[in-house]
Symmetry: C3
Subunit: 396 residues, 3 copies
């Protein structure tokens, strides 16, 4: 088993700042820290595949705080918690009276008496989601210092308005496995492109997270979208900085063709423009619901101008040997299947179904690795002990 | 403790095909396989009654995929999973966007990264429920073969349009215990009869499941219903075949009295006719909601012609010594209690309350036994080890 | 660690009647029994704070049966169950068809096949909540005797119409810790006072529970409320009796100032009058929904006459050295924060935020202690064994 390999990698890295800390944005973390998460994710997968339980908690709660519904993310988080021995308790808006300000502080403490980790998904409003997560972290930190909470639950960002680290880290681990190691990524071209979808207002966190993360591995990252679909300029700045720092490349274009040209990897998906989302957030804040409806109509109309931004068989031919790795965070809008005109041709999607499902399969392990590294003081030692004790997961 | 007896029974049986397989319909399984499930159910109950934990999973998920609400089934499945060490994650329509076709394949994989078992209840539409379950099984089988899923979750049918195996197997185990062993069932008469209920469209899976299963134990199975309340002819065919094969008897009558006459067991409950349910399913498919309302009215009116189909004290007198075992899958429509005119007299129901609750109590153990036999390679050996280690469930 | 101290306390107490019994009302229990709960709560906290798992269940279910929503209580119960090794299954009205009479008996059994404990919250209607809990207990007791249930789940009252024992016991343990021991409470004055809130119909269980419990520890309990906001006279009677029996004092006044005067502890919160709640319950029973609306309007108008009943800085100055311990069951209606005019000044609330959160932090441990003492035959011996085995909660 390649657990020994993962362990060896881990022993060479400096990642002690992950301990007792939160995971908000990939660019808060050092290269070694991200590598440690990949190594532990691989190690956990390898343990489980060999029917060895990586359970480190005998009891404890993992709290999922979702400000919008998501089956996939909910199951990924539940899977990660279960693997490590935490029971999940869901806190959703319907069940609680959580809100902003005063109430956040109180609720954060009230739900955390036995909480080891809190997974938060809050991606709806620009400028709110990340801030909310940081606040929850601050309040439970205070609660722990003040003697209210016996342990300090750490935060895992399960998607915010700025980044979607559990998705992009899973994407990256998938790429690493597909290309046979991080050392093979130097100079590989990835096209992160906008694609048409008949729906409206998909979050920006995936494209933003991808350009910020993939530029750290020496890759040639091409961001493409129609005019008016710009992402947050701060995150573009991060991508630009990373490209320089890590010897990669970051370009932006308004041509999908240009991005697809000779790409090793393509990641075409729909998103709303940052400016439009900002406008919507402001309108919500002002309670102008009629104006929001008008905005939505305008944006859907704007979308319809770009139905040709689709990952068709024609477009795929432009990529490296016509065989770029197609990626998506799922669910995709598949032309003729889930909608009339969408992000991707059915034949393309179908050809990449297995790699797409594998891409998704890394997410529970990425989340579990984040929790593991946040809660365990000496991860390499602990993994070694887990391997030595070899407690079976399924007794048979 | 009679665990040794169960173990002895188990060792004499051939049931290896249950391993890594699904449970859809009782008639997919051999006599030995059903006997193995009964033996393991008894063994698990005996272990738990003696405060010995039968836990075989250290972690892992049991997913409940319910396409309609059900407190009882949900708790039975949760109890079975918990007993074996699996944490339950509910996937209900409200929380997910699961649908037919393309999406089923994707969702089946997305929820199964850590899933050991999926319990599915989908009994609403004729010709759909069973097919849906088979498809989910096919998709996770593919997911496992393609390397997406580390383990292949197996399916337990928690009720479909054709069969309700966890109910009828619990019913059968109850009968075995009440009559002191399967060897005493030869020639015993069971009346599976329709009964009036003021509600509409109760599933056919219970009467169908009962006639298909009880004919395998040498019993004399009498199916009775008014004209127009026929069950699926394919399942009647199965019952007829079983009666011949296993030395039992299967008759059909339009007289409740005839069925009750000298019966050792009576199982009176309401159901909708197969033809009507098929019509409703087609109307749904065509989106003809006005016609569905008309159909409902027609069916309720038709029901009202048969209010005399009730398990009254008078009717009970017709049975063997007036003391037939009264059975029901619960909840029953009790005349004067839960409705004005229903399936059963309050005094009859009340006299059989304890056996009725006991009947229900077997269900968690039947479900747990199915999971146990699906996931454990050498069940007899594993049960022996569980007995030897004698880990207490409640430490006190 | 002070676990040894708790154990020593426990060994001197007589509390065997808690075993296999329910917790409905604090005044059903002896002084020793309440002290045992405090001692075990402290012991469990001390174990967990030292990363020693107090898990006593290897598997089993804790059922939460909430007849109205509550994030805080739900999380407290889930935390308590998780700490001891029970998995929580929620049964809420939406998911089930539970109702009164016949159905309660059946559902109580159907959800309890693997249940070790049932936590019930039913505080909405006067004269109903407590009765409901007693009935559930009776039905599962019967189920166990009749051989339906392998174990007899015990009941924990998570709030009823009469008492809120998990809240008031947590409050009391907080007081004990703040004042350095139960021996220091003799003669200490606690003001349980009504306070204005813009909302309507808050339950009476907290003030009732507080006057009945705090009078047992030699404290000087002053109940204050405007005319028309009387609590149940039966509970006042209990408080009066306790004051005599345990050498405390119980007074009732219509002046908030009088109650606050020289108080060591103040507990100002809103509630509806018993008479009004009784009227509402009757109107519900008769289905007179228009009259209920009229009643609500009348009561809100009545409330508005007493906006000056608030825990202001001015009022706090009346207390002992101006420094009484401010208590609340949370969430509080904070003037200028969660409402325009409420129960407490923002500056007062803010000064006591940490003690308030600590007060709440005792609740999971109180619930866990109740479960522990209900399910474990020899608690002191078991705690000693838990300490000896020293199984880590988080393996790191």
């Amino acid at each position: 088993m390649n657990l020994n390999e993962s362990l060896k990698k881990l022993r060479g890295l400096e990642y002690k700042n992950l301990y007792n800390n939160d995971f908000f944005l990939t660019w808060d973390k050092t290269q070694d820290e991200l590598s440690a998460i990949f190594a532990v994710a691989d190690a956990l997968r390898s343990l489980r595949d060999n029917n060895i339980s990586p359970k480190i908690f005998d009891s404890g709660l993992g709290i999922s705080l979702f400000r919008d519904n998501s089956t996939r993310t909910r199951f990924s988080f539940a899977s990660a918690c279960n693997m490590l021995g935490l029971e999940v308790q869901d806190l959703d808006e319907g069940k609680s009276q959580i809100a902003h300000g005063e109430t956040v502080k109180e609720t954060a403490n009230m739900i955390s008496f036995m909480a080891d980790v809190i997974g938060i998904r809050d991606d709806m409003y620009i400028g709110k989601g990340h801030t909310y997560q940081v606040n929850v972290a601050k309040y439970v930190e205070e609660g722990h210092k003040d003697g209210v909470l016996a342990q300090r639950p750490t935060i895992v960002n399960l998607q915010c308005d700025i980044d979607h680290p559990t998705q992009t880290m899973a994407d990256m681990l998938h790429i690493i496995h597909e290309f046979g190691g991080v050392e093979n990524l130097k100079g590989k071209k990835i096209a992160m492109t906008w694609a048409y979808s008949p729906s409206y207002g998909k979050p920006l966190s995936v494209p933003q997270g991808v350009i910020a993360l993939m530029t750290r591995f020496g890759m040639d990252v091409a961001l493409a979208h129609p005019e008016g679909y710009e992402v947050m300029s701060e995150v573009e700045e991060v991508a630009r900085k990373h490209a320089v720092q890590y010897g990669g490349k970051f370009t932006r274009t308004n041509s999908m063709e240009e991005a697809f040209k000779d790409a090793d990897i393509v990641y075409p998906k729909s998103w709303a423009s940052f400016a439009a989302m900002e406008e919507r957030t402001n309108l919500y804040g002002e309670g102008k619901f009629d104006d929001i409806k008008k905005l939505e109509k305008k944006l859907l109309k704007q979308n319809a101008d770009y139905t040709d931004w689709a990952c068709t068989e024609e477009m795929m031919k432009l990529t490296k040997d016509g065989k770029a790795l197609y990626m998506h965070c799922l669910p995709a809008d598949i032309t003729g299947v889930s909608c009339e005109t969408g992000e991707v041709d059915a034949s393309v999607f179908d050809r990449y179904r297995i790699p797409l499902y594998k891409e998704a399969s890394f997410k529970p392990y990425i989340i579990a690795a984040m929790i593991f590294l946040q809660k365990v003081k000496d991860p390499a030692e602990t993994l070694q002990t887990i391997l030595n004790r070899s407690q079976v997961r399924l007794f048979k």
